[in-house]
């Protein structure tokens, strides 16, 4: 599949470090949790979750994301996708717990909305470093109830998402969906494990992607060789038990790097 050429319709500043780029193509069949490869021409091609059928929400971290931040409405970039498996959707009346950290909100906001549209009851724990880094508060609260944690206590509960999670009766939720920085997801994983609820929770992972179509092998997880780009990026806790998840990842050369 050659990349689609899309034009930016709107750039939304979500936080000092995060922007949403709304583009002129809709991935109608999007399953929340799926990702696209964003081709910043002349620079790099990087994976991004779809934050809606026609947007990506990007945290500025390095060369490609910085280049994206230079683009304004009318500018264009390339897109391949959508790829991978999304989060499992609930049936109506089910209860869904969403745990989002930082830019992990990107695939979870459309998931929350899809859950609500199906009649499920959604509760979100949204965590960020500080109040100004909280993204998609409005989208999550529209979709259900919202609890906030910030590292510095500038909004919501001071602490981490796990601070709230530890106190929660998790067994009442039929679905649990988690996305955020790996240390945060690992903490959630451990908390859920202690509660005996980790197997059915779903985690959206990040690994270094090259091909994004399950061929090159850059993104494989130890010890089963699951490909994050094709078999994931969403995995159940059961798939991640005793894995490298939370312990190490790999760089572009394939070398192990501690999380």
């Amino acid at each position: 599949m050659r990349p689609l050429n899309v034009s930016i319709e709107k750039v939304v500043e979500e936080s000092p470090s995060t922007r949403t780029f709304v583009f002129d193509h809709r991935f109608e069949s999007l399953k929340p949790g799926q990702f696209v490869m964003v081709w910043v021409r002349g620079i790099d091609e990087i994976p991004m979750g779809l934050s809606s059928s026609n947007s990506i929400t990007v945290q500025r971290v390095g060369q490609a994301t910085s280049k994206l931040f230079e683009l304004e409405a009318g500018a264009s970039f390339g897109l391949r996708g959508p790829f991978g498996h999304g989060f499992t959707l609930p049936s109506s009346e089910e209860k869904v717990l969403i745990i989002a950290g930082g830019v992990g909100v990107a695939p979870l906001a459309p998931y929350a909305e899809a859950c609500k549209a199906r009649g499920a009851k959604v509760r979100t724990i949204l965590g960020a470093r500080s109040a100004q880094e909280l993204v998609f508060k409005a989208r999550f609260s529209k979709a259900g109830s919202l609890d906030i944690t910030t590292d510095d206590g500038s909004e919501g509960v001071k602490g981490f998402v796990t601070t709230l999670l530890e106190k929660l009766e998790v067994s009442e939720f039929e679905k649990i969906a988690v996305c955020g920085p790996e240390p945060m997801m690992a903490a959630v994983f451990n908390t859920l494990k202690q509660k005996g609820e980790v197997s059915r929770a779903e985690f959206s992972l990040h690994r270094y992607f090259k091909c994004a179509i399950g061929v090159c092998g850059a993104c494989c997880l130890d010890p089963y060789g699951l490909r994050v780009c094709k078999d994931g990026p969403v995995f159940t806790g059961a798939q991640l038990l005793d894995s490298e998840f939370g312990k190490y990842t790999r760089d572009a050369s394939g070398r192990r790097v501690k999380i």
Binding site: E45, V215, D222, G254
Partner: protein
């Protein structure tokens, strides 16, 4: 059981180099879940290499285009992955290696020996890595020297992987034979490129790369056919195999076994499907053994 340069394979399908071969766990999965008769690692070199910038692989209409740029963690780090693969794959694990000179090849081969690979495959054919691969592998003298050098430092079988981007692949095959190779592997990807017409940018981060998948199968069939006629060595066929029919076609051209790369895109168990398809074909046609079909096209005149 198939025997290939002394290795025992449960079936004649082999994972091709550079595909799902970055980690030991992945090699294990392709063997166990995918059903491959043997697996070849990602090509490993003397130093860690990040590879070319993305995009590094794309699916085109009838083919795949890639320029990974030989990303690898170096032999020091990969030795451990090889051990993992050897411990769990239960099939022969072949280490693909590359270097810019005989000295580098030897360094990598010796460095990987503690990981106990079952054979070495020399990547003398990658079309988009400056100073490596086809840059070396288009020169018969270098091919012979490098093959001989690696043969010298271990008793393991050495397979030499050839590039189709030469005027006559037989010349290179003969150089490998002269260097003492145990088998040749043909073909690596075909030099190619694609451009995004909306922007004018080449589609790969490295601008150009190598073509694999269905589009190159007829090129592979021709290379295997020519090598089979010209060499005494077994030829391992690779290029565009995605079903058992493709495998049979390459075998009739002269391949003793086939490697499968891009077609893992369709499904991991492409290896099981191909090997059972071959078995069913042999049964239907009344052949006793794959040996009956290897090189058959040469007899049909």
């Amino acid at each position: 059981m198939y025997s290939l340069t002394g290795l025992k394979l449960k079936n004649p399908t082999i994972l091709a180099a550079g595909v799902l071969g970055t980690t030991g766990a992945s090699l294990q999965r392709v063997a166990q879940e995918g059903g491959a008769g043997a697996v070849v690692s990602k090509s490993i070199g003397p130093e860690p290499k990040k590879g070319h910038p993305n995009p590094s692989m794309l699916k085109l209409n009838c083919a795949f285009l890639n320029a990974m740029g030989l990303p690898n963690p170096s032999y020091q780090e990969f030795k451990g992955e090889l051990e993992i693969a050897k411990a769990s794959a239960n099939v022969p694990v072949i280490a693909s290696i590359f270097g810019g000179s005989a000295k580098e090849f030897v360094k990598v081969a010796e460095g990987l020996l503690p990981g106990k690979p079952d054979a070495f495959e020399l990547n003398l054919s990658c079309p988009h890595a400056e100073g490596y691969g086809a840059a070396v592998g288009s020169n018969p003298c270098l091919v012979e020297t490098i093959t001989a050098a690696v043969k010298e430092v271990s008793k393991l079988p050495v397979w030499v992987k050839l590039t189709p981007n030469v005027s006559d692949i037989r010349t290179i095959g003969k150089a490998a034979e002269a260097g003492g190779a145990d088998a040749v592997v043909a073909i690596n990807t075909v030099k190619a490129m694609a451009i995004d017409i909306e922007s004018g940018y080449p589609l790969l981060g490295n601008r150009s790369g190598g073509l694999s998948g269905p589009a190159i199968k007829p090129v592979a069939v021709k290379a295997v056919y020519d090598l089979y006629a010209a060499l005494e060595l077994p030829v391992i066929g690779v290029g565009g195999v995605s079903g058992w029919e493709d495998a049979v076609e390459l075998m009739m051209a002269g391949a003793s076994a086939v490697q499968v790369g891009s077609a893992v895109y369709d499904s991991l168990d492409v290896f099981s499907k191909i090997s059972s398809g071959i078995e069913a074909f042999l049964d239907r046609k009344g052949y006793r053994d794959v040996k009956d079909i290897i090189g058959l096209a040469h007899e049909m005149v």
